[in-house]
């Protein structure tokens, strides 16, 4: 009986680490894989991508501990005793490796302990699960109070809740992440620290179970808050949240900023100087909402929306979408018509999803062609990303680290697209897309992500069933995702952010706001313009970008307008418009070559293949993927350099017929300065600015044309021009 004390001691160690003191270990229960060993695999990073989670590793474990049964097989069953040795447990490779200094992250004492636990488990038969009654029900996170003090540290309690009602503290075994590190930062283990005021969530992963806790960090302020009795319900919910948190919103933006912002956000273009003058002069109390209405009904709005949809639908002639030029044109024409007629969004989605025929004549079949690999699973992932804002893609290679999207349900959704067939015709690059409805699928019904069960009747086009489910008013994501996208387009940040990352562990920062918009869309029969209109008319959208003392650290709750760099297309179109010298756009791949007519704007480019080095440098999306982040508006040093000193920008201004024209027209230097300011910054200069600019023109560079070009160059290089503010 010499081994008994050792065994008892080890048993206690094992259970102490997994089970809380409130619940002492049951006597006589032998350690098992699921309850005792597996949590350590994840905790110690054994299965991380750099170690045994790697494809190249001989001992391959599942990333993020997503598949315990598989990993058990790998360790215990498959290799024929390679890792575990039942005869001499202490000689098991698993035990030896750990004693020999593996993993390096643990110190000697920790490794010794881990080795003892493993040895004990093997000695007891290396069982998978000795406590089946402990069926895992859920992971639960808690804090005594979810309202936190700025600067204070807390420990989140994570409990595994079992079907029999028992609970175990697993805080030490969880991986924690904060949704917004500025508000809450995760320190080591389960410790968190409250930072800037805000409202955010922390999520945890334990043995591939996830849980989220919402936390609030208010600040004390003596600032005044706007009356929440405002008419617009958007302002009511945004302001109520800000008030709870002590973050007063910024003031309403000036008319000058409003007119520029509205043009940029709805058309991607600067307003012409005449439009600015007229808007500023108008005394009409409703002039803001009238401008919104005018622009929403303009052709430029249509082009601007087609650009956004072209990005999302990967509208591109070349690799990897490979739509080819003729089909790209047909596809873009359809988008244009859909936006122009304000096609209800449910019909918009349905037409994309359920169409058959030639890629030239039934433009929406190109939805199914914009893939390098036309695999039903990949098609369903793409539809899931675009319409459900969900990133199913990760699960194809490995478990998603941030949420539990069950691998199979996604595979199942691919079933709707298994009937798709493609055939070419005698016409160059023409292709017919059609469903082969007499296909016998092995899957007869599919469980959707929301739990709904959708039938796939024999002899019918199954895409119809998918579209019915997707565009239903009861679909939990379809409407939410598009209203959140529009919010993101207009405000630079989603209520769910990023806008294509909907998951339980990434909840909306203002749930009431998102539900309100969702309900508005549904009750207005999927009228997207209505959503634009209510957002644009809100005080929230019309706030200044200049922060106050209390809201300068907020970047997520819409207390002030978020600065964002103009997009690639906006920048080049502005300099072309002001100078009067346009770019020429063409592409010599693939055939037939594409040449855009003179005067064509970058914002009108419907084919992602037609590009310039300017557009690439300023982060135009590749259209290889449908993520919003594919459009990169991050300022880089290359861009600043180009904008300061490229011949592209400088020559346009130096040779500009438009600038020549106004320098001839306005002999009064003050008026000339006014006009240049209006054209580039959409406002009149201040008294000081006017004085400085005038002095420059009268003293530094007296050449009428060159001086004006210098002034235009300087204004184009200000942050005020480069940012949407």
């Amino acid at each position: 009986m010499k081994w008994l004390p050792v065994l008892l001691l080890s048993l206690i160690v094992v259970f102490m680490t997994v089970r809380s003191q409130e619940e002492p270990a049951e006597k006589g229960v032998k350690p098992d894989f699921v309850n005792d060993i597996y949590p350590q695999v994840e905790k110690n990073g054994c299965n991380s991508a750099n170690c045994h989670g790697s494809q190249g590793s001989r001992l391959k474990l599942s990333l993020f501990a997503a598949f315990p049964a598989k990993d058990y097989d790998v360790l215990v069953k498959n290799p024929g005793g390679r890792y575990v040795n039942f005869v001499e447990p202490e000689k098991s490779l698993l035990v030896r490796k750990i004693k020999e200094g593996h993993p390096a992250a643990l110190d000697v004492i920790q490794r010794e302990q881990l080795a003892r636990e493993l040895e004990l488990w093997i000695r007891n038969g290396a069982a998978y699960n000795n406590r089946p009654e402990l069926n895992f029900k859920e992971l639960r996170l808690s804090l005594p109070d979810t309202i936190l003090k700025q600067g204070a540290k807390y420990r989140i309690k994570a409990e595994a809740v079992f079907n029999n009602g028992s609970k175990t503290d697993v805080s030490a075994y969880c991986h924690f992440e904060s949704q917004d590190n500025e508000v809450i930062s995760c320190l080591s283990g389960n410790e968190i620290k409250a930072g800037h005021a805000g409202y955010t969530a922390v999520w945890a992963r334990f043995a591939y179970h996830f849980a989220t806790i919402r936390l609030m960090v208010p600040q004390n302020t003596d600032a005044k808050f706007p009356d929440t009795q405002t008419q617009n319900p958007i302002d009511a919910v945004v302001n109520a949240q800000l008030k709870r948190l002590g973050i007063p919103p910024s003031e309403r933006c000036s008319d000058e900023i409003f007119v520029r912002r509205t043009y940029l956000n709805l058309t991607g273009l600067l307003p012409l100087s005449g439009a600015v003058r007229a808007f500023l002069e108008s005394k009409d109390a409703r002039k803001r909402s009238e401008l919104i209405e005018t622009l929403l009904n303009s052709d430029n709005f249509v082009d601007f929306q087609v650009l956004k949809w072209g990005d999302l639908l990967r509208c591109k002639a070349e690799y990897p979408s490979n739509l080819w030029p003729n089909a790209v044109q047909a596809y873009a024409r359809w988008m244009k018509e859909a936006v122009r007629s304000n096609k209800p969004y449910d019909r918009f989605a349905r037409e994309l999803l359920v169409s058959s025929g030639s890629n030239f004549r039934s433009p929406t079949v190109n939805f199914y062609r914009a893939f390098q690999v036309r695999d039903p699973k990949i098609i369903s992932e793409s539809a899931g990303l675009i319409f459900l804002g969900t990133r199913y893609e990760c699960a194809r290679c490995h478990a998603n680290p941030k949420t539990n999207l069950i691998r199979n349900s996604q595979n199942e959704m691919g079933a709707f697209f298994t009937q798709l067939r493609y055939k070419s015709t005698n016409e160059w690059k023409e292709e017919i897309v059609y469903p082969e409805t007499d296909v016998k699928g092995s899957v007869k019904q599919v469980t959707m992500p929301d739990g709904a069960i959708v039938n796939m009747p024999a002899g019918e086009d199954w895409r119809q069933a998918y579209a019915d489910w997707l565009t239903s008013k009861n679909n939990p994501l379809f409407a939410k995702v598009i209203v959140n996208r529009i919010w993101y387009w207009l405000n630079g940040r989603g209520i769910v952010n990023e806008p294509d990352d909907f998951r339980d562990t990434n909840p909306p920062v203002n749930p009431e706001l998102l539900s309100y918009l969702e309900n508005e869309l549904i009750s207005h029969n999927f009228d997207l313009k209505h959503i634009f209109r209510i957002i644009l008319n809100s005080e929230t959208w019309q706030r200044s970008s200049i922060p106050n003392r209390w809201n300068q650290n907020d970047h997520a709750l819409f207390s002030h307008f978020i600065l964002r760099r103009l997009t690639a297309e906006e920048m080049i179109d502005a300099v072309c418009e002001v100078s009067g010298i346009s770019e020429s756009y063409s592409s010599n791949v693939p055939e037939p070559f594409t040449f855009m007519p003179d005067g064509f704007r970058a914002g009108q480019l419907y084919d992602g293949t037609v590009s310039t080095s300017f557009l690439e440098m300023f982060g135009r999306p590749s259209r290889d993927v449908s993520y919003e982040k594919d459009r990169n508006n991050q300022l880089t040093s290359k861009q600043v350099l180009h904008w300061l000193n490229s011949s592209q920008v400088i020559d346009k201004l130096n040779r500009s017929p438009n600038l020549k024209e106004i320098s001839d027209k306005f002999s009064d230097k003050e008026k000339l300065v006014d006009e240049v300011y209006l054209r580039i910054l959409s406002r009149f200069p201040s008294v000081q600015e006017k004085e400085k600019a005038k002095t420059y023109l009268e003293v530094k560079n007296t050449d009428k044309y060159k001086g004006t070009a210098d002034l235009a160059w300087a204004l184009f290089n200000t942050a005020e021009f480069m940012y949407n503010h």
Partner: protein, 451 residues
């Protein structure tokens, strides 16, 4: 991680800013800031043999039979007018008759005659040879230059961009792939063979330094908005970029592109052509430590009247490339500069004499050739072979990922290492490369120096 990583200490030198952000955001109890800073300060990889790469990219695909893998015995239908390959200064190596200057320096480069992949379209083939990845996955992988720019961002501290294309960049696919646009190449644009050679953003002959300074002052006096938002992180960033930009515009970087600083003899030796002067520019870039330069030569897609075009293009290639290799060698730069030359594929060995081709060659990916030199590649060797008509690889197939893995290894970049996945997943530098130790496979050990 492979043991290569441990040996070279690569983990230390390749932690980029993105990695740092990822660590900050996603590692619990991971590296503390102190650790990160000490990693950053790590020495450049001493075991790497190469510092820079010049990729002479023959866009459109040249024919191996006309260049580095002549097949005189295959007859007129394969060789056309190029019937008599020439001896080089290395016994047993013959190359195409138009490459007379290259023939004199064959000891300085090696020829891979067994390049192969299975992509016959320009877009998929360009993707395969430039990224070393099979087309068709869910991710668009970055090209070699973008990977090098990413991996060398701590080590390379020069003011010129780390990845430069002379004069234009590749248009077939998004060359930075999922790494993001900041890793795209800086394309010089302009016409280096002409007197008025401008480089977008850096060299602009239409504006004087005085004017630049005047404008800078004016801008500074009018940036009202920046003063209001002086505390904003974006605005601070913009300010610092602007200072950096001015140091480029008014400082040394501009001189790198001043091709007129080269004497006449040198410029003439490279050839007064777009290609020749582009090669000369590439040398000026690697002299200043730029880790990756692509010289993109266009017009190799000769479906029609192939030989008429080759009569014009091959002498230019011969002159520019031989001058580059000799010049690098004379300056002691060849030992740490890799030069590779080739296209996305080769061209059909059998000539299409009939109309409308009238002596053309089609796309051919089954077998084609690459030239490699310097930076740890041994000269005077041949790798692999094709059959007597140049239609099949009969010995030691070399796939694009093998070549690229070899280049990475010479640069001290682990070819089995990882890249930051765009959605926080896990991506490999070369997912299709299998690190095998068997001879005649994988890494081109037979023509590489060992450390």
């Amino acid at each position: 991680m492979s043991n290569l990583n441990d040996k070279t200490g690569l983990t230390a030198t390749t932690i980029g800013r993105r990695d740092f952000l990822r660590m900050g955001a996603f590692t619990i109890g991971g590296l503390a800031l102190g650790n990160f800073l000490s990693l950053r300060a790590a020495q450049p990889n001493k075991l790497a043999l190469a510092k820079s790469v010049i990729y002479i990219y023959l866009d459109g695909g040249p024919c191996h039979i006309d260049t580095f893998d002549p097949k005189p015995k295959a007859g007129k239908d394969y060789c056309g007018p190029y019937k008599t390959p020439i001896n080089t200064n290395v016994d047993g190596i013959q190359i195409g008759e138009k490459l007379t200057r290259l023939a004199k320096i064959a000891d300085k480069y090696s020829i891979i005659r067994s390049m192969t992949h299975n992509y016959f379209g320009h877009e998929t083939a360009s993707y395969a040879v430039q990224t070393g990845t099979h087309p068709g996955g869910q991710l668009v992988y970055p090209s070699m230059g973008a990977v090098v720019a990413y991996k060398k961002q701590q080590e390379y501290t020069g003011s010129l961009p780390p990845y430069i294309s002379v004069t234009s960049s590749n248009s077939r696919f998004n060359e930075a792939g999922f790494l993001g646009p900041q890793y795209k190449s800086f394309a010089t644009g302009g016409e280096p063979e002409k007197d008025n050679f401008i480089v977008e953003g850096i060299v602009n002959n239409n504006i004087t330094d005085q004017q630049i300074n005047n404008r800078r002052e004016l801008l500074h006096s009018l940036d009202t908005f920046e003063q209001e938002l002086a505390q904003d992180a974006e605005i601070k960033k913009m300010d610092s970029f602007r200072d950096k930009a001015y140091s480029l515009i008014l400082g040394d970087a501009k001189k790198a592109f001043d091709i007129h600083a080269e004497d006449d003899k040198t410029r003439t030796r490279y050839g007064r052509t777009r290609f020749g002067q582009s090669c000369l520019l590439a040398r000026r870039m690697v002299e200043r430590g730029v880790p990756f330069v692509t010289v993109r030569s266009v017009g190799w897609d000769t479906h029609k009247q192939h030989f008429e075009r080759m009569d014009e293009m091959l002498p230019d290639l011969d002159q520019g490339l031989s001058a580059l290799i000799e010049d690098l060698s004379a300056r002691g730069l060849l030992q740490d500069t890799i030069v590779i030359c080739g296209g996305e594929f080769g061209r059909t060995p059998k000539i299409l004499w009939e109309p409308p081709w009238n002596g053309g060659r089609g796309h051919f990916a089954t077998a084609f050739s690459y030239l490699v030199a310097g930076g740890g590649f041994i000269g005077g060797k041949m790798v692999g072979a094709t059959d007597f008509k140049g239609e099949e690889v009969i010995e030691r197939p070399v796939y694009p990922w093998d070549l690229i893995a070899s280049i990475y290894q010479l640069l001290g970049i682990d070819p089995t290492g990882t890249l930051p996945h765009p959605r926080d997943g896990f991506a490999r530098v070369l997912p299709d490369f299998k690190n095998t130790t068997q001879p005649g496979n994988g890494i081109l050990r037979e023509i590489m120096k060992t450390v």
